[in-house]
């Protein structure tokens, strides 16, 4: 019954036989209409002998515009392949219009009988019927509705029917645009190096090249006198902090062309410094070590502002709250516990005692909502600071380090079984996403999120290379060769997606940028 006109046009468009020619043309016609090119659309309809509106829809159109309600209902009931629900909705829409017109003519009794007999038999649910009845009875006498308004309303009814009825009787709106969007999204999804912010061109298949990812060494910083254990870019991307087993930390400034210059050397610790943390406003830096106390430094002047706790107060890791006024630190020895301080040195809160397990690493999410702690090697505890709810994720192997994504949604842990696991902080995942390929057996190796849209993960490795993954795939995307000994830590510049820093036991820090030679500005 349906495609009488179109039978002789059902040749396929492409070799695979995926696309039917008449459907393709129909979709193009819809697009032309929706863009406002009605003449072109009509022209295409006649030239290709393809009608945009299906036969049923045309029939319904003439019946509605001519107010042949009985015929209209017959057509609706006559269409096969409609679910009862859809048919009922369509019929209801027609009835509503019909009722409106009867009421505007003043024929109340007919309206009432229509309501009683026909509509209630539709099984639509009492609410709809009651609403309609209420509207009918609630009021003032309905005024006569102008003819041209009735015409408008009938056209609107047709549009609504088009939305309700399924293909091929009616097409979903914007069908062609939607198909193109799906194709482009699929291409972007499969683009492993995807790093461009600009809208993708549909003139060619989208594929980012690896020239957007940092893959080459641009600078080697040799100012540390011993193994470099930690690096991190500031939140604004303008500075880099590094710490070393030479008991110092160094602040570097990032120049416009991506070059790094030494700004301050922070010397005051007696033992190796293994951890630094930038305040969210980048004015202060915290440093601590696995056998060291916690110190706070002013970034601008390079002077030590405060030392927390007393001599024996060992802090293994620390993190700031978003207000840059409060910080939290974890201790693995001797007084186990977690302490919260303000920048003046006052203790705000403490979780301590004999039952407190060792704190290996901790972090506050950038939005300040959650405190994530790594306890006794295999436990990740997520504490919601607002609701005080606590959640525990148990890993099977020991965790050596923790890092959190910039959007506060994901966390990354390095396990000494040579896997990196990503979990969601909200707690909806049953299993983690896993990343492999690097080497990690003995040392604390750190990883981080980064790159365009935080789409990538980078990690150090005991084989002296830097590993980069696209978050979607568990095999490495790039392996950066250059260091001569274990790479302990990596940091991706949050404001410059193709600038990466790595810290190694070979006493150097390497700055990595994109590979194309005229792209010197990372």
């Amino acid at each position: 019954m349906i495609h009488v006109l179109m039978e002789n046009l059902s040749t396929d468009l492409d070799q695979k036989g995926l696309i039917k020619k008449h459907e393709f043309i129909r979709v193009i016609i819809q697009c032309l209409y929706s863009l406002g090119y009605e003449e072109s659309a009509a022209c295409l309809e006649s030239e290709a002998n393809v009608s945009y509106k299906s036969a049923e829809l045309k029939l319904l159109e003439s019946q509605i515009l001519g107010a042949n309600w009985d015929d209209c209902l017959d057509t609706l009931y006559g269409i096969k392949d409609l679910t009862d629900e859809v048919r009922a909705s369509a019929v209801f829409l027609v009835f509503k219009q019909c009722l409106l017109e009867i009421l505007s003519r003043g024929d109340d009794s007919m309206a009432l009988s229509l309501l009683r007999k026909q509509i209630s038999s539709l099984n639509l649910g009492k609410e709809k019927v009651h609403k309609l009845a209420f509207g009918m009875l609630s009021g003032k006498k309905m005024e006569k509705v102008e003819d041209h308004v009735i015409c408008e309303l009938r056209k609107r009814l047709l549009t609504k029917l088009e939305e309700v009825l399924p293909p091929p009787i009616a097409l979903p709106e914007r069908r062609l645009e939607r198909l193109v969007e799906m194709a482009v999204s699929a291409q972007i999804d499969s683009c492993m190096y995807h790093s461009s912010i600009d809208a993708v061109t549909i003139c060619e298949d989208h594929q980012c090249g690896r020239d957007q990812i940092p893959t080459e060494t641009y600078q080697i910083l040799t100012d540390h006198k011993n193994e470099v254990w930690f690096v991190q870019f500031s939140n604004n991307g303008q500075y880099l902090a590094s710490s070393s087993s030479d008991c110092s930390a160094i602040l570097w400034a990032v120049m416009d062309d991506g070059e790094l210059r030494l700004k301050h050397t922070l010397q005051s610790h007696q033992n190796p410094v293994s951890f630094v943390a930038w305040s969210p406003d980048d004015t202060m830096l915290l440093t601590c070590g696995n056998a060291e106390v916690l110190k706070m430094w002013d970034v601008e002047t390079g002077t030590c502002k405060h030392t927390f706790g007393d001599q024996g107060f060992i802090v293994s890791s620390c993190s700031w709250f978003p207000d840059s006024k409060r910080l939290v630190c974890g201790s693995c020895d001797p007084e186990k516990g977690i302490y919260m301080w303000d920048t003046d040195g006052n203790e705000i809160k403490a979780w301590r005692g004999m039952r407190m397990p060792k704190v290996l690493d901790l972090a506050v999410t950038p939005d300040g909502e959650s405190l994530i702690t790594i306890f006794s090697e295999k436990e990740i505890r997520v504490l919601n600071l607002v609701t005080n709810d606590e959640r525990v994720i148990s890993e099977e192997h020991a965790i050596t380090s923790l890092s959190v994504s910039g959007d506060s949604k994901f966390l990354l842990v390095n396990l000494n079984s040579q896997e990196i696991h990503m979990w969601d902080i909200a707690g909806t995942w049953a299993k983690p996403l896993k990343y492999k390929g690097h080497m990690q057996n003995k040392y604390v190796i750190r990883s981080c999120f980064g790159g365009f849209n935080s789409n990538f993960i980078a990690s150090g490795s005991e084989d002296s290379h830097v590993y980069i993954w696209n978050r979607r795939s568990s095999d490495p995307l790039e392996i950066l060769v250059g260091h001569s000994m274990t790479v302990n830590c990596v940091s991706w510049n949050p404001k410059r997606p193709n600038l990466l820093a790595s810290a190694s036991d070979d006493q150097t820090i390497r700055i990595w940028g994109p590979c194309s030679s005229d792209n010197r500005k990372p």
Partner: protein, 129 residues
């Protein structure tokens, strides 16, 4: 934390004689009746804080095996080996498990073991049970 990642165990722990790094728990011992060059050795299901040497074939009293030596992660001293695979079917139960030489570790009470002079024993792992 710190760069070298050292796990700590709770309970009755066997640790390195030289640097006291934890290796294994008493409850993970499968058998105490093994022997090695220095005397007593234990068969254990799980060991932490060790690094592995190359896999190699070794002839033991009980037959040919493929083993990898294990070393303390902190001080590097050799403390035993891991059974990667066994050729004889009756020896398969050892696969994936570890041998810890009693001479190289401190017991849960901190005690040491004097060991046996090297001369008499070839490297062996005869199970007396």
């Amino acid at each position: 934390m710190g760069r070298l990642f050292v796990e700590s165990l709770e309970g009755n722990v066997y640790s390195c004689k030289h640097c006291k790094t934890h290796f294994a728990l008493l409850e993970d011992i499968v058998s105490k009746a093994f022997h090695c060059r220095h005397g007593k050795a234990y068969l254990i299901t799980n060991v932490v804080n060790v690094t592995f040497g190359e896999k190699e074939e070794r002839m033991m009293i009980t037959g040919m095996h493929i083993v990898a030596d294990i070393f303390c992660v902190c001080c590097g001293s050799i403390v035993g080996w891991k059974y990667e695979s066994a050729y004889e079917k009756s020896q398969k139960y050892k696969e994936g498990k570890f041998i810890l030489e009693r001479f190289k570790v401190l017991g849960p009470d901190g005690s040491t073991y004097q060991g046996i002079p090297e001369a008499q024993f070839a490297e062996s792992d005869a199970d007396e049970e």
